[in-house]
Symmetry: C2
Subunit: 301 residues, 2 copies
């Protein structure tokens, strides 16, 4: 593993996509992934996989590996000078049917430039329509475990990064209970490439057990029309975040990416009402009150 | 009228909001506008009016008049240097229930700076879920009439501006059949302020007869679940345009505007499906084929 190549990383990401799709089909029990293979004119391509199931109302698990001349939009945005780039990653968003099951997002990615630069990025975050603190504690516990294996500061730093990144600025609320987010992890502080990748793989491998548990804990809870209406409004916020603030989405839309793969993150159905208000002392009000940065979910009781 | 003041303009805009709200309540027959008055900390405020009716599923008619120190975000975006600004306008978006009735948007606005600069902006455009060429011809005919009264080039120039502005770049499609759009109309070419305002008022006054006719032509058409599903997907595109490309919306969301007034443009319910496809030779396919720039709607037969 001394010479970890982009091909090694790409192979692992493909295998990760496969394992997650198999696991999600098992979890859903009914839905099957439909795959679209696509190619990028300038080089590379991807496997976009989407599912509509019993538990997962709409979900996508994308793999891509693209390369070619570095577009000037990327070089100026990322402040790098190189002629060619290579990027590979796995990207997931799942919108469940039951409002008590959370939306989940995961992304792991690797970027390399022809001048020898490279870095990893990624993250995983959960957007419950209804926040259950014990679920948040469980989820953040898994992320801390994954981080602690590789660096004592990973969880703390990347949890904060997620709070700042998954933030709907115009609503002054977080997208959900956060998780972890990181970018440009390279050879800073003498960190080894294989150790960076070890962390990234562990983040990827956390996805399935995390979501399985969150589904199993909540999927049999009954739900009312009112709770579905609240879910539709929370999905509206998800749309707002993704289209207004998410750097990856904005970047893809402005640089002629594969639109259907980028926008597979959109919910199946979303709702907006003017000045939508929650009832005092309701579970909806409780959830709104917890959409804040810097909550230490590991210590909630 | 030689000394057209901002107060004159503001008064006319208030009256325009009143007239439009009265006319829309009559047209809808059931819905009544609910008004929220709001104040801006730095100066001024507005009257946000929203309606949920029988014909209009969700609509908003906003008036605002705000002033104060010019935020650096505005001065740099607009490349102007002045200490204070004043802005007033009326802004409308209506989402009808029947998919055969189009979505409509209208905006008129006036901007003034403390160094004596001023300009008008605005526009009106229609987004049919199903395009009927005869409706497009009627609508563009009214706009041409309004423009021709004031300048022989207005309609042609501002129709093109609308095609370019109301364009969903990542989908490579126009938002609808366009209309007119204009900005920074000031004293260029010796144009008089009162004539600019005359045009802007005529645009504002075109709104009600235009929408009345478009509603009356289409509101009694029966519609199926499939047509509603198509409508929900077109609304999804409306969301994409407003959150990703609309300069006014983006500006408001990034500068701490009144969020509920800005996002009153959002549809009540919108839908996204992965890679949604229309049937060959269907009315939906016909509509998609007409979402192009530079169609001369006045000459369609």
């Amino acid at each position: 593993m001394d010479n970890l190549t982009r091909q090694d990383i790409e192979n692992e990401f493909r295998a990760l996509q496969d394992a997650i799709c198999t696991g999600l089909e098992e979890l859903d029990g009914e839905g099957k992934f439909h795959q679209d293979l696509w190619e990028r004119e300038e080089g590379g391509g991807g496997r976009t996989r989407v599912i509509q199931g019993k538990i997962i109302e709409k979900g996508g698990v994308n793999f891509s590996a693209v390369h070619g001349p570095l577009p000037s939009s990327i070089s100026s945005a990322l402040k790098i000078e190189a002629e060619e780039f290579y990027a590979t990653g796995v990207s997931i968003v799942l919108h469940p049917k039951n409002p008590h099951v959370p939306i989940i997002h995961m992304n792991v990615r690797y970027f390399e430039t022809s001048d020898g630069g490279y870095w990893f990025g990624g993250g995983i975050d959960v957007t419950p329509h209804y926040i259950y603190e014990e679920d948040a504690r469980f989820f953040h516990g898994l992320l801390k475990e994954a981080g602690d294996k590789w660096h004592p500061e990973y969880y703390k730093a990347h949890k904060k990064w997620a709070d700042d990144y998954f933030y709907i600025q115009h609503r002054k609320e977080t997208r959900g209970i956060g998780g972890i987010f990181f970018d440009r992890l390279s050879d800073q502080d003498g960190m080894k490439k294989e150790d960076r990748f070890g962390y990234v793989k562990d983040v990827g491998n956390t996805f399935l057990p995390a979501y399985k548990e969150l589904v199993e804990r909540n999927v049999n809870k009954p739900y009312s029309d009112n709770e579905v209406e609240w879910q539709m409004h929370r999905r509206g916020r998800y749309v707002e975040f993704n289209l207004v603030w998410d750097k990856g989405t904005k970047f893809g839309l402005h640089t002629n990416g594969r639109i259907e793969s980028i926008l597979m993150s959109m919910p199946p159905l979303a709702q907006w009402s003017y000045n939508y208000q929650v009832k005092p002392n309701s579970p909806e009000e409780k959830t709104l009150g917890l959409l804040k940065k810097d909550i230490d979910w590991l210590s909630t009781t």
